[in-house]
């Protein structure tokens, strides 16, 4: 049965291999240059000398000048997001549904192999192919962008950064893409088995997977490990600015150095000396953008900033958790498929 599953999968496997080969060539050609820029930047030893900030900025601006590197960095992230969705749509959804539509399941299920085994082997062969494809892609991408990720991880600051624990980057590095691929694939197979028509199943797979891709980083990942907190005393001298949340809420931003390097900042709150959340909009000078008077006024209030964050050191813990979650979901979906194929389908 494994050979039969391979016989049906070999064309798709060849396409995947060809795509991986193209990616490998593109990254192998440009990767050494990115690594070279990093090596000559002196970032590797900057922590001992305490001059990381300017060295990283210089490294990043050199990268920005290399349009091809910048392009590949973002293309890699985009492609890594799309690959599991494509796997789910084009490998998952048609896997059983195409057989139901063409009637060939009546041929397959009357051979000397039970349909449970038929499904299990097909899921195994194509599922492992999906995981291998995503895994290899992620391995290459993680290698290629590791100088950029390392540099970003050393930089302190509250701007949108290029850290690997970032909202967007995280799922395109390390081992989580394997989990995403396994999940997207089984999601495709399951929607196919439930809807029983290939094109609607592909659309449903795309919609459901995209939804999960949005929900996971925004609402689930931050809570996988309870976040760390840090408080910073705010003085007239170290306030870096005001951040507006909603219409009438102004948060006082701490200095960039207050944010732990490489950390995923979940929230920043201003707390007054009574322990309550402080809204800078209550001070008219701040509301009217009179920054000098506002800063002076705030400095007298003995405010502190509460930073809620996930430290950079938790990257691999998050990687394992998220991978495990998606693999567990894939196992559940596999169970649903098996149950459905055994019980209902004719």
């Amino acid at each position: 049965m494994i050979r039969f599953a391979w016989l049906q999968f070999r064309m798709q496997a060849a396409v995947a291999l060809a795509a991986l080969a193209v990616v490998a060539v593109a990254l192998a050609v440009t990767g050494p240059h990115v690594a070279h820029l990093y090596d000559v930047s002196g970032i590797a030893t900057c922590q001992a000398r305490g001059n990381c900030g300017p060295l990283i900025s210089s490294f990043q601006s050199k990268l920005d000048a290399e349009k091809i590197d910048q392009f590949l960095y973002f293309l890699g992230i985009g492609a890594m997001f799309v690959v599991p969705a494509i796997i789910g749509m084009f490998w998952g959804a048609p896997l059983v549904t195409r057989e139901l539509e063409t009637g060939s399941f009546r041929l397959a299920w009357t051979q000397g192999v039970t349909r449970t085994r038929w499904l299990a082997v097909k899921l195994g062969v194509v599922g492992l192919g999906a995981m291998a494809t995503a895994g290899l892609f992620s391995l290459m991408l993680t290698w290629w962008s590791s100088p950029i990720d390392t540099a970003a991880g050393l930089k302190t600051g509250n701007s949108i950064s290029f850290i690997r624990l970032g909202l967007v980057q995280f799922a395109t590095r390390g081992i989580t893409p394997i989990g995403y691929a396994a999940f997207a694939f089984t999601l495709g197979v399951t929607t196919g088995v439930l809807i029983r028509r290939t094109i609607p199943a592909m659309a449903a797979t795309l919609a459901a997977f995209t939804f999960i891709q949005i929900v996971m980083p925004l609402w689930i990942r931050p809570h996988l490990i309870s976040p760390a907190h840090r408080t910073v005393a705010l003085t007239t001298a170290n306030i870096s600015g005001l951040a507006e949340f909603g219409n009438s809420s102004l948060t006082v931003m701490p200095p960039a150095s207050a944010n732990p390097a490489g950390a995923w900042i979940l929230s920043t709150q201003t707390i007054d000396n009574a322990g309550h959340v402080f809204n800078a909009a209550t001070i008219s000078a701040c509301r009217d953008s009179n920054f000098r008077a506002c800063g002076a006024g705030l400095g007298r209030l003995h405010l502190t900033d509460l930073i809620t964050y996930q430290p950079a050191s938790r990257f691999w813990a998050f990687q394992w958790y998220e991978t495990a979650i998606f693999l567990a979901l894939a196992v559940i979906l596999t169970g649903v498929c098996c149950w459905r194929i055994r019980r209902r389908i004719s």
């Binding site: 009637g103 000397g112 085994r117």
Partner: protein, 298 residues
């Protein structure tokens, strides 16, 4: 007489509609069984239940005494060609034969390759480019090369042209003679079945109306014609299947095991086609169902 296929009170419901109901049937071994009935009578449902593609809603069905498709041994004992002979369009004939060998422990590759060669098919040809007749032959080859004890064919010849139809049935007869396999094949074309079947099951409006040895069925049915007469005045052992009357004359199709001795009748034998059509036309028949044959899905 051992039964290859035994159904008892078998029923299959789709939503609220019964596609097959109260089907009790025993198909003896070593026979070529024709399953006839109008479109939508439940033939395909019955065959899918027999190969385990469907599970019954009520009652039981057994193949060689076991549940259909229950494990690889059971699957190996039954060869099946589904309606329209589905194959994998993108795989070649050779791929199909290789897959057959991988999936079936009892695969006879000499038989499979020999048949493909005999049919004049190129093993490198994709199955999607075969004609309907060639595809049916490929599907039959796959079904027979696993060396089943029972071969089940669902409307195997419906989509074939008359020449391909004849060749297919001829090949089937050769296979039966050579390997002693029992066959169940469905069709709504009685004329074709007449040539090959020695056992007949008539399915109308989701119920079995008639089942039996073709010779015995022909021997026990007679067409009587004579002066107009009320069918209820016939002897008790003569069951009227169909009655037609003109002003002066009555023509009846009766079933009886005893000879018809009444000199008022002219007694003629019936053809299999007339016999089957009479049962198909019978409103509800012995099962007293008022369903139309057309209102039921197969």
């Amino acid at each position: 007489m051992t039964a290859v296929l035994e159904a008892s009170g078998l029923g299959k419901k789709y939503g609220r509609r019964w596609a097959l109901r109260e089907c009790t049937l025993a198909v003896p071994a070593g026979r070529v069984v024709g399953l006839v009935g109008p479109n939508g009578a439940g033939k395909t449902t019955l065959l899918h239940l027999a190969v385990g593609l469907l599970a019954p809603t009520s009652g039981t069905i057994a193949v060689f005494g076991g549940r259909p498709a229950d494990g690889s041994t059971q699957l190996g004992r039954v060869g099946f060609v589904a309606q329209d002979a589905p194959v994998y369009a993108r795989l070649t004939i050779a791929d199909h034969l290789r897959a057959g060998a991988w999936l079936n422990p009892g695969w006879d590759s000499a038989l499979a390759n020999g048949r493909i060669e005999q049919l004049g098919l190129d093993p490198r040809q994709r199955a999607g480019s075969l004609s309907g007749g060639q595809r049916a032959q490929l599907a039959l080859t796959l079904a027979i090369a696993k060396r089943p004890e029972l071969l089940i064919l669902d409307e195997p010849i419906a989509s074939l042209d008359p020449l391909a139809r004849r060749e297919f049935l001829q090949d089937l007869m050769e296979i039966v003679a050579e390997y002693g396999v029992s066959v169940v094949l469905s069709s709504h074309l009685i004329a074709d079945l007449e040539r090959v079947c020695d056992y007949l099951v008539v399915l109308v409006a989701s119920r079995v109306q008639l089942a039996g040895d073709v010779g015995a069925l022909l021997a026990s049915h007679h067409r009587l014609s004579g002066l107009r007469r009320d069918p209820s005045t016939l002897p008790a052992n003569q069951e009227v299947i169909e009655a037609r009357h003109t002003d002066k004359q009555s023509t009846l199709l009766v079933r009886t095991e005893a000879p018809v001795l009444d000199p008022a009748w002219i007694v003629k034998p019936v053809s299999l086609e007339d016999l089957v059509l009479a049962y198909m036309r019978r409103p509800g028949g012995t099962e007293r169902t008022r369903r139309s044959a057309l209102g039921v899905v197969s």
